[in-house]
């Protein structure tokens, strides 16, 4: 069995099973766990929980005024690599075919050259994020191994994907296998670390919105 | 045989890149090699067969180089056409294979392409054959007399 066979076969299979199992476990667990709402009665004129939750989700998409100066880089850079990742993952034709193979869903892709450009920007943005994290004493203080591991496992697929398409460093099928294996690692770690925020951020922000709303606090 | 359709194809592809710029690159290399040859006497061969030249590229290159004073045809293991271009010392060598298809194509920078010259071993063999012929002729002449 070649490395590519291993990657496309058992590795991908195991990784996807772990990913689905873990992610469903955590989502179902989070949703069916007891919701510890604020025991006190809501203040008068408080927003309904649904609206408050929505507000919580959307308002947090941009920093509060007092933090705008200091948090601007984090926010902008965050947007860059999140959008970059979404474009690369969801609009590159080979990736679409991969998703189609799993789910049967299909949509048009973007030109590959454009994707390469976006991937380069995404990679640069991820590096900038890491440098920022390492240079900021506060961020250093609150960073765990989980943060670094999650960063690495996001960064590797981007880099290996770029290397594979540009045939740099090794033969294409080796690079492609490494790319797939890096995605496997990403998938395996995903449900258990901070990467899970991709699924959970909606609920956590919504929850914050509800709680703050009940207290009548401005988000 | 014509195949002209009643109407043009609805999804006509955009014009194919007929000229890729490869001809310019080859021409530049020819120029550099020729200069080198004129100075140092180092002959060179530029193999065109495996180059990604389009039909148009080839035609352009051939037109640029043009035809000079010498043209040679060889009949050995198929047909070959060789000509000196309008640049002295730059030769176009084209070998045809099975079915008169071009088998290889190259540009040689030399005083004469290798394949035109007679090989010493061939000349030795020819000398033997010629000597045999002379001997044969003389016996026949004597017998006739």
């Amino acid at each position: 069995m070649t490395l590519l066979d291993f990657a496309r076969g058992p590795a991908l299979q195991a990784a996807l099973i772990i990913f689905v199992l873990g992610a469903v476990w955590r989502i179902v667990g989070a949703l069916t766990a007891p919701w510890r709402l604020v025991p006190a009665n809501p203040r008068e004129g408080a927003l309904s929980p649904a609206v408050a939750a929505l507000k919580g989700v959307f308002v947090k998409m941009w920093p509060h005024k007092p933090f705008q100066q200091a948090g601007l880089f984090t926010f902008v850079n965050g947007y860059v690599f999140h959008f970059g990742l979404a474009i690369v993952v969801l609009l590159f034709t080979p990736h679409i075919l991969f998703i189609k193979g799993l789910t049967g869903l299909n949509w048009p892709g973007l030109p590959s050259n454009l994707i390469y450009m976006v991937a380069v920007i995404t990679g640069a943005s991820l590096i900038a994020g890491l440098v920022h994290r390492l240079r900021s004493p506060v961020l250093q203080l609150i960073s765990r191994n989980d943060d670094y591991l999650s960063w690495l496992l996001t960064f590797l697929p981007v880099v290996t994907g770029l290397l594979a398409t540009s045939h740099l460093g090794a033969r294409y099928e080796t690079l492609l296998a490494l790319h797939i294996l890096s995605i496997c690692a990403f998938l395996i770690w995903f449900p258990f670390g901070k990467l899970m925020h991709a699924f959970l951020f909606v609920f956590s922000r919504g929850m914050t919105g509800v709680r703050m709303g009940q207290r009548g606090a401005e988000l | 045989m014509t195949l002209a359709p009643a109407s043009s194809h609805p999804h006509a592809p955009r014009e194919a890149p007929a000229l890729t710029g490869m001809a310019d690159a080859v021409l530049a290399e020819v120029a550099a090699r020729l200069e080198d040859y004129a100075e140092t006497g180092r002959a060179a061969t530029i193999e065109l067969t495996a180059m990604p030249l389009t039909t148009e590229d080839r035609a352009e290159l051939e037109a640029w180089l043009g035809r000079g004073e010498v043209a040679v045809t060889i009949e050995s293991a198929g047909h070959s056409e060789i000509w000196e271009t309008r640049f002295s010392g730059v030769w176009f060598v084209r070998h045809f294979g099975e079915g008169d298809r071009i088998a290889t194509e190259s540009i040689e920078i030399a005083d004469a392409p290798l394949i035109v010259r007679s090989h010493p071993a061939d000349m030795r063999a020819a000398a033997r054959r010629l000597a045999a012929l002379c001997a044969d002729q003389s016996t026949r002449t004597r017998r006739d007399a």
Binding site: W25, V28, A30, F98, G101 | E47, A77, S106, H119
Partner: protein, 360 residues
């Protein structure tokens, strides 16, 4: 038998000049992208060589490799077998049969001890003593071992001989194995393909005859001259791939405009071969040009790569049921965890209430 003449002497006696060698050599060196000046050296090598004795063994095969070799335009099979090599044993072409054929093989081996080349097409059945494929009552695996004993080198032509090919496809019913699994003490060159490009076979044989050494090989023992780049790298449809223009079917608008065949399963990106540059049958076409994706036929185990029409970026396995199972298991785990948590919380609240009640 008379002393065999050198190829140069044979040409002399036919009154043909050495230009024929030079022309032939310039073709092979262009084919194999040899450095400039190699043609002259190769021509000299050819002139000094004797007709190379070649023993061609056909095992678990379909004769497609031999058929392919007969389609070689330059060098042609005729020039190869009449001018450059002595094909001393070859089932499909040789005149003798039965005992006489086997004798021809043994004679060639004895007369060219240490100098002959063995070419093998077809896989070698190894299961149950190789009884699934025999010639003259002898199992292929035994005939191979005996034939290579005094060989100079072995060339495995076709994917079956090089990598096991279709007989080795799952579930490999006859225990088919590639040649280099059996022959471990001789140099082996693999020229895979189903079948291989004829010029690749003829080119490698010519190279061996004229230089008397092996061409540069990759890690799968394939000559780099022919297997150095992927089909995708040299495919004229590559620009469409880069522009994201793909055929979605075999006869849709994209297919008619010659868009990239990646979506319909083309294996060009992971297939090392010269189809896109040398093309087939005298440069007429190659599979992608004629509208079908590359099957990847010069790669090991290409039969078991998940399907000809499955895009390269998809998983090799059908994951639907496994993932559905994982989702159900995950949901159960999640619900279970939540239930445990609720019970834990209920017990805690009760405990709190009890302790508070106690205080009162």
């Amino acid at each position: 038998m008379q002393r065999s003449q050198t190829l140069g002497e044979i040409l002399d006696s036919r009154g043909v000049s050495r230009r024929a060698f030079l022309k032939y050599a310039s073709y092979v060196s262009a084919l194999m992208a040899l450095p400039a000046g190699s043609a002259a050296a190769m021509a000299e090598g050819l002139a000094a060589a004797r007709r190379q004795s070649v023993i061609w063994l056909s095992f678990q095969e379909c004769t497609g490799c031999t058929e392919s070799l007969t389609r070689s335009f330059s060098p042609t099979l005729e020039s190869l077998i009449f001018d450059f090599i002595s094909l001393d044993y070859h089932h499909t072409l040789q005149a003798a049969s039965g005992e006489a054929a086997e004798k021809a093989r043994e004679t060639a081996m004895a007369e060219n001890k240490g100098k002959y080349i063995v070419v093998v097409d077809g896989a070698v059945s190894t299961k149950d003593g190789g009884l699934y494929s025999t010639i003259a009552g002898v199992a292929n695996v035994d005939m191979l071992r005996a034939s290579v004993k005094d060989a100079l080198a072995v060339i495995a032509v076709g994917t079956c001989a090089a990598f096991g090919g279709i007989p080795k496809a799952r579930p490999n019913p006859t225990g088919a194995a590639p040649v280099d699994e059996i022959v471990t003490d001789k140099p082996v060159i693999n020229i895979p393909g189903c079948p291989p490009i004829p010029e690749a076979m003829a080119g490698v044989i010519s190279y061996l005859v004229s230089f008397g050494k092996l061409p540069e090989l990759d890690d799968l023992r394939r000559p780099k001259a022919f297997f150095g780049e992927t089909i995708h790298d040299r495919c004229y449809r590559r620009p469409f791939y880069e522009r994201g223009l793909f055929a979605d079917g075999f006869d849709d608008a994209g297919a008619r405009q010659g868009y990239c065949l990646y979506k319909v399963g083309c294996k060009g990106p992971v297939t090392y071969n010269s189809c896109a540059t040398l093309k087939w049958n005298g440069g007429v076409s190659f599979p992608i040009q004629s509208g079908h994706g590359c099957l990847g036929c010069s790669e090991p185990d290409f039969w078991d790569q998940g399907g000809f029409y499955r895009p390269l970026s998809t998983s090799l396995r059908d994951l639907g049921p496994a993932l559905a199972g994982a989702a159900v298991a995950g949901a159960a785990l999640g619900a279970g965890a939540a239930w445990a948590s609720r019970r834990h919380q209920a017990a805690y609240v009760k405990e709190q209430a009890a302790s508070e009640g106690g205080k009162k």
